[in-house]
């Protein structure tokens, strides 16, 4: 392997690693706040990529049916609860988010021809379709069992994953899609050629990570999420509701997942089940950080990307095996070096 190839592989690894890093951050966030190991994180990548591909092809993405269906289910459940507990004042707000918003988005899809929109508008439209699904899934699948054990939450998580993969096949079919490139530009750094797409992935990931950092360090709602992760009871006593924190973290996870999908869609063909594998690689990164540390998780995810790129050169048949085997030494190292401490006060 000469320098040229090594650099090329490195570039590839870092590009994929940046996406894994985003997903790893989302997984750490969701776990810290809700204790859910969010297996369906990767499905949002699929949804992001394929929704955008559908919009560009001038088709109506099936995502809208998911949005309408989940919204209708929530409307029925929450309105029944409101009527039963005598909190009727909550109903307009429930209907606004679970019925009016999905219908409005459907109407928008019906009125405009998405294929003719500028690329940025297509991306925004995709996010509008996908992001509310995060809190909706939390409401339907996780909120009713929010106090259950991590294992129960994990099982629910697997169920949600299987459901979403099935729906993905139903909505998008078995063929893979790519989206149009965001940019045709190429950049030359010395002897390395970088495509505009790679630069875009790296820049967007860096920007998104910086934005998340700012959100958690500087804003009251970001601090409220961290507080819930650190001490649930303490947070509730401040009026930070566990439900609100859960929905907010799922909203962020959906946004991160969808954006990751949109970023890689022009450089990789995405099938209805591709997201799962991408999500799992993010998960390996998150495990390196013990599902707790954001910076270590991001670094771990970059490592996963690089390992994947170089092993695809030397032993391409074993590339997935090598990546997932990484988890064994990491787990051993972690269980030998860290002591399990009961939650201190």
């Amino acid at each position: 392997m000469d320098m040229q190839i090594a650099l090329l592989l490195g570039q590839d690894g870092i590009t994929n690693g940046a996406i894994y890093a985003l997903l790893a951050l989302a997984l750490v966030l969701v776990f810290a706040v809700t204790r859910v190991i969010f297996i369906p994180q990767g499905e949002f990548v699929t949804l992001g990529a394929l929704t955008l591909a559908n919009l560009q092809a001038g088709k109506t993405p099936g995502t809208i049916w998911l949005l309408l269906g989940a919204g209708a289910a929530i409307a029925v459940i929450d309105c029944t609860i409101s009527l039963r507990t005598g909190t009727i004042r909550r109903i307009p707000r429930i209907l606004l988010w679970s019925v009016a918003y999905p219908c409005g988005t459907a109407l928008l899809l019906f009125l405009v021809n998405p294929a003719e929109l500028p690329m940025l508008a297509q991306v925004v439209l995709s996010l509008m379709l996908i992001m509310p699904l995060g809190p909706m899934i939390y409401r339907l699948a996780f909120q009713p069992v929010a106090e259950a054990s991590v294992l129960v939450l994990l099982i629910v998580s697997v169920a949600v994953h299987l459901t979403l993969v099935g729906l993905g096949l139903l909505f998008f079919g078995a063929e893979g899609s790519r989206t149009l490139a965001f940019s045709d530009a190429t950049f030359k750094f010395g002897s390395i050629l970088m495509s505009g797409q790679t630069v875009l992935v790296l820049a967007s990931s860096a920007l998104l990570i910086a934005a998340l950092f700012w959100f958690f360090e500087r804003t009251l709602y970001g601090k409220a999420l961290r507080a819930t992760a650190i001490n649930r009871t303490g947070a509730r006593l401040m009026g930070i509701s566990t439900v609100m924190a859960g929905r907010l973290s799922f909203l962020l996870a959906a946004m991160i997942g969808a954006l990751s999908g949109i970023l890689i869609a022009p450089i990789a063909t995405i099938y209805y089940d591709t997201g799962f594998l991408i999500g799992l690689k993010g998960f390996v990164g998150a495990i390196v950080g013990g599902l707790a540390s954001y910076p270590v998780a991001a670094a771990g995810a970059l490592l996963v990307g690089l390992l994947e790129a170089y092993s695809s050169f030397w032993a391409s048949a074993f590339k997935e095996v090598l990546v997932f085997t990484l988890i064994i030494p990491v787990l051993m190292w972690r269980s030998l070096t860290t002591h399990h401490v009961e939650q201190d006060e």
């Binding site: 009251l220 650190i230 009871t233 303490g234 947070a235 006593l237 930070i240 006060e345």
Partner: protein, 254 residues
Amino acid sequence: MSPKPMPTATDGILKVRDLSVSYGKVEALHHVNIDVTVGQIVTVIGPNGAGKTTMLASIIGLLPHQTGEIMFFGETPVKIEVERMVALGMSLVPENRELFGEMSVEDNLLLGAFMRHRLGYRDERETMTHIYRIFPRLKERQKQKAATLSGGERQMLAVGRALMAKPRLLLLDEPSLGLAPLIVREIFHIIADLKKSGVSMLLVEQNACAALQVADYAYVLETGEVAMEGSAAELADDPRVIESYLGLGGDVCL
């Protein structure tokens, strides 16, 4: 958004009626009635395991399984939820503080005002200046992580954080627990000062002597039931209270 008009001095802030709580088959509280009126410090004293912490936890809604009625500022929520009670102006300083250990003192305080912020009051910075005036020690430590504070400082932070919500009723669970006598005295000074500034309090204490000194009215809770009640001065002179909680020598008071 304008705050509700403040109730007049004769109004009851909190009326607890027939409150019973059980953990499985074990009943921890048995038909408890408690009243707090505006500007008062009401204390609940009693031995370990009498159900004092359980009582506070169920008043603010941390414990879901309960029967009875809790009326707070004329509202009787069907389901007592912590978030709702905090929004109505109740704050609890729990026995074990429940601080956000990995966050700075300043962030802990800021989060104390989370509900106020959500309800549209954006005065957290002014409130914080006020809290730093009450607890100058917290200002010195503002950038430090909460987990690095000493026991007394942690208690101050827990009280300061609760006050950031500008509560209409402050619930204090054993504020003197695990603190050195000098710090206990300081905390009780602060409690007396808070009363002067108009904060109503429900104070749960094992340190009966200090509690009866600052309180206006007192209840004695024994094995989940109210065994005695009366003005704090009355109870402090009651031979049964002296024998069980104050000690015969009468000089254990701080």
